[in-house]
Symmetry: C2
Subunit: 107 residues, 2 copies
DNA sequence: CGTGTAAGGAATTCTGACACG
DNA sequence: CGTGTAAGGAATTCTGACACG
């Protein structure tokens, strides 16, 4: 497994700093959310909060956009990656169950 | 070496979120800076920015304070750790130089 | 010493909308 | 479709100061 995933995935960065980090305008960042490319959390009062993983995803999105790829297509690509991850997760889960069923009896 | 230290040490978290993460008030966080226990960076307009490492340090500071330790003593402890780190870094550096001087001649 | 608070101002963020193309 | 902008309001952050103890 990785080291500590929380630093990468914890949503703690406000939109102004994400803008600095990515070079995107706040308008662009909010629009990509509207198009379901990115999913910030919210503070109690409603401000958006992003993770480093989100920042990296936004940088990828920006690169795709520069190539002229539309947000629709970018979303499909991201879903493809997500499904691949789900597939791997299921595989791992299954392996775990098999171990629970048969692996432990050997011990 | 670690994985990617940048997620842990990059200063991107504003004080309000640090307050949520640590349970400390903004007043306390600013005071610990005044007492040289913590060193945030600033945005262009002057807002403080903290790293996850800073957040962890603040949590340690909070624990010490609950034990009644004064900020002066806490600072000394933190300097002790820093000096220990420096000592290790010098040791590593020296090792590198020795390799450069003698290690490569063997090759 | 460490922390709370009210004060005033500046910077941040939010939403919904109009504009262009 | 993707992005800019002006609009108005609410929330955030900053500093320096007074208060208590």
């Amino acid at each position: 497994m990785g080291e500590d995933p929380s630093y990468k995935t914890r949503k703690v960065i406000t939109i102004g700093i994400v803008s600095d980090l990515t070079g995107l305008t706040e308008r662009q960042i909010r629009y990509y959310e509207e198009r379901k490319l990115i999913f910030p959390e919210r503070t109690e009062k409603g401000s958006r909060k992003y993770s480093f993983a989100d920042v990296e995803r936004l940088i990828e999105i920006a690169e795709k956009r520069e190539e002229g790829v539309q947000t629709n297509e970018i979303r499909r690509d991201l879903e493809k990656v997500k499904k691949e991850d789900n597939r791997k997760a299921r595989k791992q889960m299954l392996k775990g169950q098999i171990n629970a069923q048969f692996g432990l009896r050997k011990g």
